[in-house]
């Protein structure tokens, strides 16, 4: 359900005794009278810890706290606040609230910031039962499109919505559909790109597993708009549950004649088949993907001609990403204007991010474009665990870059991320703290691209390999300042001369860490130390006076290199230490750091 507002009713034990259940029932009654149940979600929240002011009702977005709410107040809240957007002053909590004292503040943030469009049904409906999708207005958009709109109107509506592709580059979906619609051919194809190869991204899998029909419905709408009768979903074989649920969904849609011939008696025919990929990253690139569907080796080709002109088997083809498609039925149900009003001017709607790395709440979040990284990482994601300091966040996977603390307050959209030297990519968001070595991070992504390069063009095949060699040399402690220059010049060469976006973007993690964390590179090559204590050849752990003598490090050391008594500062014997980092991980007060050795000990 596309709720625009959440009403959180404190349901802690104490407030339950002050009738929060009755409040809920009354809200339910009034909202249903006002026909607002679809737009407003009632949530029984955990205790807010403001029991003396209870029962508490919080309205989000906006975080309006109402205190001492009684059943008699509810009509006014609904009519004034929900309908007209006016705050009911007399119910506002009297004392200024100290956010730090509010219990479960994170749940509030969680509801306040998130807005679910692409994930609207995920976790809410049984994905194996088409009836549950239909109960949630599924296929209504398709019905509406086929009964009341012309293909040109479909494309125009799509353009108006401002939806941009969620698979990587953020190209206007409406424009893409328009190109395909304008290509003249009896045979055209719609492809859903479900290859999802970015390490750390899993939003497409979630949509396919939790709401497969939304993708099928969107593909049929697209087919009608561009004049295609056949769709393919290219999904990786490593997603067996998604494959099973998609197959089941296609079968059920065919049975109800929502796929097949003469859908909604409109004369329009559309069918969808699955094509399984073997899980090569490059096959997510649209021209390689089409080669793979054709039965050839998955290698990209030069564009133009673009797929919209000459795509699968030489016919005009429209390729969109899973999440892009998942937005489409909602856009046609609620209208392009509704969608356009969400997000920022140039990036409408929401984006799903897969939060991972050093963050308390890993998982998927869907937020309106324009939310800041700080809100995503600290408010929704719960911040960095274990009292570590935030260092950087990596977006865009192996094609993206690192964003530092200085940019945390920039509103996120397609263009701002590019301006920060990264990109949206598919929406992976890996958070890094002071224990991550940025040289090692760059090496990790490059290792991935070296593996995944298809080998067709030389810059990508040989250039990335050479860059990885240099990074390995630096991490091993044998790097020089000249290596940094060489690394940068090869990176720029690979970027400028590779055939496809895999090679063109592969140097990004290296270039962005070189820009933002050059001091770490220099520490590796000049001081011969890895400040984060990751590269084992360059790590010399010492225990600082922050040590509280809890003995955890000594207990976790596999080679008994740490000595010390309880409540006293411990000491590491570097001649025994194998630089495994177990002590650093175990330390609750972050007292273990990696320092350069005095010169004479530096071999």
């Amino acid at each position: 359900m596309l709720s625009r507002m959440h009403i959180l009713i404190c349901g802690g034990k104490d407030c339950l005794s002050s009738h929060s259940k009755e409040l809920r029932d009354e809200f339910h009654l009034v909202l249903s009278e006002l026909n607002l149940l679809d737009e407003v979600r009632l949530v029984m929240a955990g205790c807010f810890g403001l029991c003396s002011q209870g029962p508490i009702v919080v309205m989000t977005p906006g975080e309006t706290f109402y205190s001492h709410v009684t059943v008699a107040d509810i009509r006014e809240i609904c009519e004034e606040h929900v309908v007209k957007g006016n705050i009911v002053e007399r119910l506002l909590i009297k004392e200024p609230i100290d956010k730090a004292k509010i219990k479960n503040y994170s749940q509030l943030k969680f509801y306040d910031r998130q807005r679910r469009i692409a994930l609207r049904n995920c976790g809410q409906i049984n994905p194996t039962d088409i009836n549950e999708y239909i109960a949630r207005d599924g296929y209504l958009a398709l019905g509406k499109v086929l009964s009341t709109m012309s293909p040109a109107e479909v494309v125009a509506e799509m353009k108006k919505s401002g939806l941009r592709g969620r698979g990587g580059a953020g190209f206007s979906t409406g424009q893409k559909w328009e190109f395909a619609a304008k290509s003249v051919d009896d045979v055209k194809y719609v492809i859903c790109n479900a290859d999802e190869g970015d390490p750390g991204a899993f939003m497409d899998r979630s949509v396919l597993e939790g709401d497969p029909h939304s993708v099928l419905e969107a593909m049929a709408i697209c087919g009608y708009g561009i004049g295609s009768h056949q769709g393919y979903i290219y999904v990786r074989a490593e997603y067996p549950i998604a494959v099973e649920r998609l197959n089941n969904a296609i079968k059920q849609a065919r049975e109800l004649r929502l796929l097949g011939k003469n859908i909604f008696s409109s004369g329009f025919a559309f069918d969808i088949e699955l094509r399984l990929g073997a899980g090569a990253f490059v096959c997510g690139e649209e021209t390689a993907l089409m080669a793979s569907i054709e039965g050839n080796r998955g290698m990209p080709r030069l564009k133009p001609p673009f797929p919209a002109v000459k795509g699968l088997w030489g016919h005009p083809t429209n390729v969109n990403n899973v999440e892009t498609f998942a937005n489409v039925p909602a856009i046609f149900l609620k209208g392009a204007d509704w969608f356009k009003a969400i997000g920022t001017e140039k990036s409408s709607g929401t984006k799903v991010f897969a939060l991972g790395g050093k963050i308390a709440n890993t998982g998927l979040v869907e937020i309106p474009m324009g939310t800041t990284l700080r809100e995503v990482i600290f408010d929704i994601g719960g911040g960095i665990p274990n009292h570590r300091k935030f260092k950087a966040v990596q977006t865009g996977g192996p094609s993206g870059g690192c964003i530092t603390e200085a940019a945390l307050d920039t509103p996120i959209d397609f263009d701002s991320l590019v301006a920060m030297g990264s990109m949206m990519g598919s929406g992976g968001m890996i958070v890094m703290d002071e224990d991550n070595c940025m040289v090692d991070v760059a090496r990790f992504y490059l290792d991935f691209t070296v593996d995944e390069s298809c080998g067709k063009c030389t810059p990508c095949r040989e250039g990335t390999r050479r860059m990885l060699d240099i990074l390995n040399k630096i991490c091993a402690g044998n790097g020089t300042l000249e290596d940094l220059d060489l690394l940068e010049s090869i990176a720029n060469m690979v970027k400028d001369s590779s055939l496809c976006a895999l090679g063109q973007s592969a140097p990004n993690p290296v270039l962005s860490t070189l820009t933002h964390f050059r001091d770490e590179y220099i520490a590796h090559v000049v001081d011969k130390v890895c400040p984060a204590g990751v590269c084992s050849n360059l790590t010399n752990y010492t225990i600082t006076d922050k040590c509280i003598g809890c003995t955890k490090c000594a207990k976790n050391c596999p080679v008994s290199a740490i000595s010390g008594t309880v409540k006293q500062q411990h000491v590491i014997d570097l001649s025994k230490c194998i630089r495994c980092g177990a002590c650093k991980k175990a330390c609750p007060v972050n007292a273990i750091s990696s320092k350069p050795l005095p010169k004479e000990e530096n071999k």
Binding site: G11, G12, K13, R24, D25, H28, L42, M44, A45, G46, C47, N104, S106, Q107, F110, L119, N121, C122, G123, Q124, I125, N126, P127, T128, D129, N131, E132, I134, A135, R136, D137, G138, Y139, L140, G143, K144, S147, F202, R205, S206, E209, G210, D211, Y239, I241, A242, L256, R257, L258, I263, F264, S265, A360, N361, T362, G363, L364, V365, E366, G382
Partner: protein, 122 residues
């Protein structure tokens, strides 16, 4: 599907089932079964709910799998949706907790505060 009308009829029927309109005291148990949920052990939990509900001879209970809610770190996640729409989200549900949810929440009507997502997620 022949017409928009057909679809709307089917939708109304499906909505009644999903909203448990015709069930007295209906309860829907939703077990998160995306890859993340299954990997965290949701399958035996779903089975446990089926067994427990049968063992206690409870009626008007719908047990269903759903996709991932996005809170992957707290899987397996189980949501109890009551007929009036009240939703309680339990996280890290194992077989023992499943049993407790059936006995405490469903039978005795006490929500288990300590295992609710909003409580655990600080």
């Amino acid at each position: 599907m022949k017409s928009l009308d057909d679809l709307q009829k089917l939708r109304d029927k499906a909505k009644r089932t999903m909203d448990m309109t015709d069930l007295v005291d209906g309860v829907r148990i939703q077990v998160g079964m995306g890859t993340c949920g299954i990997a965290a052990g949701a399958r035996p939990v779903l089975q446990k709910f089926i067994d427990e509900v049968a063992a206690h001879n409870l009626h008007n209970i719908i047990i269903t799998q759903v996709g991932c809610m996005g809170e992957c770190a707290f899987e397996p996640i189980v949501e109890i949706v009551e007929k009036d729409g009240t939703k309680t989200t339990y996280c890290k549900v194992g077989k023992r907790l499943a049993e407790e949810i059936v006995e405490e929440h469903l039978i005795n009507g006490n929500r288990l505060d300590a295992y609710m997502l909003s409580t655990i997620k600080r």
